[in-house]
Structures are given as C-alpha cells and as structure tokens.
C-alpha cells in the first residue's frame, strides 16, 4: 500500500518512508470522498454528494447573512423603545402591540415627519414624490434613450460615431464633481424650490441606457427595417411600431434598473430639493432618523421598512428580468 502511494508522490518519497497512522487515516478519509489521488475506493457520485452538501451549507449560511439584517430591521420596527430594539435578536422582547396598536411605530413615523416638516401627510407625500421622480423622468428618459439607441444601431448618418463617443465619454464625469455647479444652475432657473430639478435632467435620457439598448438592437436583424422602408414607412413609424416592441426586453430591463436607481437615489435629492413638500422618501427616512437621533430608533426602522418594501415587492415580481438584465450588462462589456 505505502509503496504504491510513494510511487504516486515521488517528491515526498524520500522523507516519509512510513506514513503514520494519522496520515493514513486522513488519506483514507479524503479518498473515500473522492478527493486526491489516494482514493482507490472513491466514487464520483459520493464525491459529488459530499461537496453538494458542503455547498448547500455554505450557500445557506451566506443566504442567512444576506437576509437576516433585513429581517432584523423588520422585527426591530415593532420594538417599544431603543433599549428593546438594541436587544432584539429574532423578535423584540416587548412589542408596541402590547401597549398600542401593532403598527404604532409606523403611524408614529408619519406624524413625526408631519411635525418636522410642517407638511400634512408628509410621508405619503414623499412616497408620491418618489413615484413622480422615478416614473416620469425614467419613462421619458428610457424612450429618449431607446430612440438614440435606434439611431446608433440601425441608422447611418454623418457624425454618428462622433456623437456616440461624445455621449459615451460623458460617463467619465462623476456626478459629485458637477453637482455643485448643477445646483447653482438649477437654482438660477428656480428649479430647486420645486420638483423640476429632479425631473427635467432625467427626461433627456442616459447614455448608458442608450448604450445597452443599442447593444441589444445590434443583435436584431435589419431585414425587417428594410422591408418596412420599402413599404413606405417613415423612420418615426419604424421606431414606434417595430423597434419599441422588438427591443422590449432590453427597454424593460433598463426601465426597471433606472427606476430602482431613482427610487434609491439619495445624494441628488438631498442637494436639489429644498422644499419640504417635494422631498422624496429617502430624504424623509434619513431626516426621521437624523444624525442627532431625536426620534426613537424603532420609528426610524419602521420608516426604513416603508422605504424598502415597495422595491422588494418590485424585485420579487421582476426578479427574472432584473437578474437577466444585470447579466446582459455584464456580458456585453
């Protein structure tokens, strides 16, 4: 037995003539699971089952780490006070439902914000604002980007490459380095007292959105466009009746991604929205928490849950599209 092993590993042959009991046991153990060169009674099937079990254990541990903090946030939103919140592990030791109604923290987060902002129904208002900021510019922006993508992918016009690289180079300019100038610019247009600073720039589309739709359109056959042209359809009609339906998967994916980006946007509204009644949900939640920690933290957690639930529901519904579109963005470099 040892001789055979030594033949297999000639480098170690010199120093370990006799393997001690522990090493032998280890080899047999590893071999049984199909690992290493020693296992003569190993089997591929056993090896696979063994590693599958390990894989599941690790992946489950990882999944737990991913989900547990969110569960904690949900549980903590029912805690009576800060002390209870901090000691919460699975479920708070005393919940508000024992004192008040179950959703006391949630209703309280509404009234707290009303008092802070002097706006009636402020949290609902901020949800509505977030919806406006994410739906209007994203819808218009994605269509504008799709139009540009159509031109980049399927039309042949003078200066196309220049325009494309001119737009693409814009992604090199990071938002924080232009935000102050943008703020002053919007301020001089009186946009920051209303919602316009959050809406208008987004309506002009985004080059990255256009880029990914363009990549998708490249893969589609040109024949259909040629056929439409021969039938006398104008470019506008081709765009609306052929390109939009054909590129729907890419457009939907980009829409959902931009929507989630706008929903979670924090720095831009913090800078560009001055009026309390126009602040979006992210700002509302951060102001309920506020760095001074004036309000009890369970209320903050309740507000956080309110901010996170719609996006998680959206993700649950569209997870296939979302994951698919992320994969698409990665593989198309």
């Amino acid at each position: 037995m040892t001789e055979v092993i030594n033949q297999n590993i000639p480098s170690e042959a010199g120093e370990t003539q006799e393997l001690n009991k522990f090493q032998k046991a280890l080899q047999a153990f590893c071999g049984w699971f199909g690992y290493g060169i020693y296992g003569r009674n190993s089997s591929k099937k056993r090896k696979k089952i063994f590693f599958d079990i390990i894989t599941y254990i690790i992946l489950l541990a990882g999944a737990f780490t991913m989900v547990y903090p969110l569960w904690w946030m949900f549980a903590a939103s029912f805690a009576t006070n800060d002390m209870v919140l901090l000691e919460t592990v699975w479920w708070p030791s005393s919940t508000v439902s024992e004192v008040f109604s179950a959703f006391y923290n949630y209703s309280e987060s509404f009234t707290v914000l009303d008092r802070m902002w002097n706006v009636e129904l402020s949290l609902l208002r901020s949800i509505l604002n977030t919806l406006i900021y994410s739906l209007v510019p994203v819808t218009i922006g994605v269509i504008v980007s799709a139009a540009a993508a159509f031109a980049f992918a399927k039309l042949d016009f003078k200066g196309k490459n220049f325009v494309f690289f001119y737009c693409l180079a814009a992604i090199m300019v990071p938002f924080p380095s232009i935000m102050i100038a943008q703020y002053c610019f919007y301020d001089s247009l009186n946009w920051v007292d209303g919602p316009l600073a959050m809406i208008i720039p987004g309506c002009f589309g985004a080059i990255l959105t256009a880029f990914f739709i363009r990549q998708y359109l490249y893969g589609l056959p040109t024949a259909i466009i040629e056929a439409a042209k021969i039938d006398g359809a104008g470019y506008w009609r081709i765009f609306w009746t052929f390109i939009i339906p054909l590129a729907k998967p890419a457009i939907m994916a980009q829409f959902i991604l931009s929507f989630m980006g706008s929903w979670n946007n924090f720095l831009a509204p913090q800078l560009f929205v001055r009026a309390n009644e126009w602040k979006p949900l992210t700002i509302a939640v951060s102001e309920i928490s506020s760095s001074g920690k004036i309000n009890p933290q369970p209320i903050t957690m309740a507000a956080s849950v309110i901010a996170i639930v719609p996006i998680l529901v959206l993700f649950a519904i569209f997870q296939k599209t979302i994951i698919g579109s992320i994969m698409m963005t990665g593989s198309k470099e």
Partner: protein, 337 residues
Amino acid sequence: MEKESVTVVSDAAVGEADVQTAPPKKRINKAKLQENLWGWAFVALLLIGTTVFVYISFIMSVMLSFSDYDNMSRGTTFWEALGTINRDGFFANYKIMFEEDIMGSGGQQAAVWGTLLTTVIYLIGIPIGMVLSLFFSVLMTRDIKFSGGFRVIYYIPTVSSTVSIALMWANLFGGGGLVENVFGISFIEGATAGWQRAAVLILTVWKGLGGTIVLLVAGLNGVNESHVEAADIDGANAWQIFWRIKMPQIYPTIFYVIVTSVIGGMQIYAEPALIFGDWGSTEAGKNVQVTPFVGYIYGTYNADGDRAYASALGIVLAIIIFALTLIQFALDSKKEK
C-alpha cells in the same frame, strides 16, 4: 491581409464611383439626406441632455472652481460669478488643499487628504467582495438545485434602498447593538476609527456582493464547456480547471466589475453619511477618518456654503477617478501583452 483586400476593392471602388456620378446619385442622396436628418433627430434629445447636464455643467464647475462664489456673495448671481476669478489668485481654491490652515481650525489640507485616504480605505471592500463573490459564484455554478434561488436571495441587499440599509446598520452595529452583544466589538459609538471604517466596509461588501455574483455567474456559465471537458480528460483537477481555464475566460467580467466598482467606490457617500452623520453638521461630524471625499464635498458646501471650493474639490475627484480608470486600463493592456 487587410491591405490586400483594400487594393483589390479600390479598383472596384473606382469603377463604382464612375457609375455613381450618373443621375441615380440624386435619388440616393435624398434617401441619404432623410436618414441623416432622422438620425440626428433621434439622438438630438440625448445629445442636448448630455451637453447641457454633463459637459456644460462640468465646464461651469471648472469655472466655478476658479471663482470665489459662496453664500456670502449674495449680490452676484451665479451667472455673474462664473466669469469671476478668485481674488486670491486663479488657483486659490486648489492651493488651499495643499496648505495648512492659518486659522488653525483643523486645516483644509488635513481634511482633503484625510477624507481621500478614508475613501481609498473604503475601496478595500472591492478586493474582499471580489474574492467572496468569486467563491460564492463558483459554488452557485455547481450542478445543484436552487442555485437560481440563491442568486436572487443574494441580490436582495443590492436592490434595497441604501438609506434604509445604512440606518439599519447604524442600529445593528451601534453602541449596545446586536453585533456588540454577539461579537463583543464596538463598531460605531466610542470605537476606534479602524472599527468604524470596518462597519462601513462590511456594509459595502454585504450590499455589493449580489451584483458581482450575478455578473460572475453569467461569466462562469459562458465558459466554453468543451475546454473544461478537455482539461478534465487530461487529468486537471477542479482547482487547475478554475485557474487555468475558467479564470482567463471570465477575466473581462472581473475587469468590468473592478473598473465600475472603483469608479463607484470613489464616490461613496450615503453609507458613511447616514451612519456617522454629515461632515460639518456637528463638531463630532467633522471626522476625517470616517467621512469620504464626497461627504467632504457635500459637507463643505452644506455647512460653509463655499460653492467655489466645493467645485474645486469636485474637479479634483474627477481627475482622480479619471487617473484611476486610466491606470486600470493601462494595467489591463499590459497584461494582454
């Protein structure tokens, strides 16, 4: 090879050109003109948007950084301020970044370089996240059930709102919180800067893992199956197959992830700001060791109203990000050689 075909074609092209001088040219031109017009029409909005909201904004930012426009200069409007030059000299706003403050109140230099260092330290999360997501994505591409389900679960933190997540983190890792009870380490209140930064690092790694995993799984699924089989038949073990066969093929994905996360990581703002408070909002908030560079930009603007200086900081950030991206592409091209 290419030259050959060009010479062959050029003869034909000359012939074609002769033909095209004939009447049909006009009809072609009309269609061509229409295509040109429509092409420009379709890209017009994007082009205007990019020009106004990126390039002109950037130029305004550069001009602003040379001026001394702040909250005090109420008399001058923004447009008037754009043309002006700082009374202490053209590069005055850039100079203070390298000078110790005369007033002795902390000093701009310390703040600029301190926050920059903090931002770079937060970038450590990228390699950690990369290794972890490689590990998880390799496990997920094994032939097991529910791997798609795991991918979805791991992606949940990525889609979640940063604000909610950061506030939750502040409570979870905060003084007397769950993490302190379980691990006995205080991360935020009364902790050293190292642990405070670690709290942000854990947050960014945890939040970013899902996105990278999804990309890497896509990359690993795209690995040429026949190469893997061939290596397997030749007796390569799983480790060798991974490093020699799969790794080179998913390298573009890894490169893409690293480039985008460095660009994004240099702009980190919300997480530290929500956990530790804004720069300059409180005295304790003026903590160089946890505030990232963007937090400093926003804080300088928010607390002092110094728009010119904040713009100058923004330009510095743009230059740094541009340089970092260039370096990465240079390293990439070197590797391909």
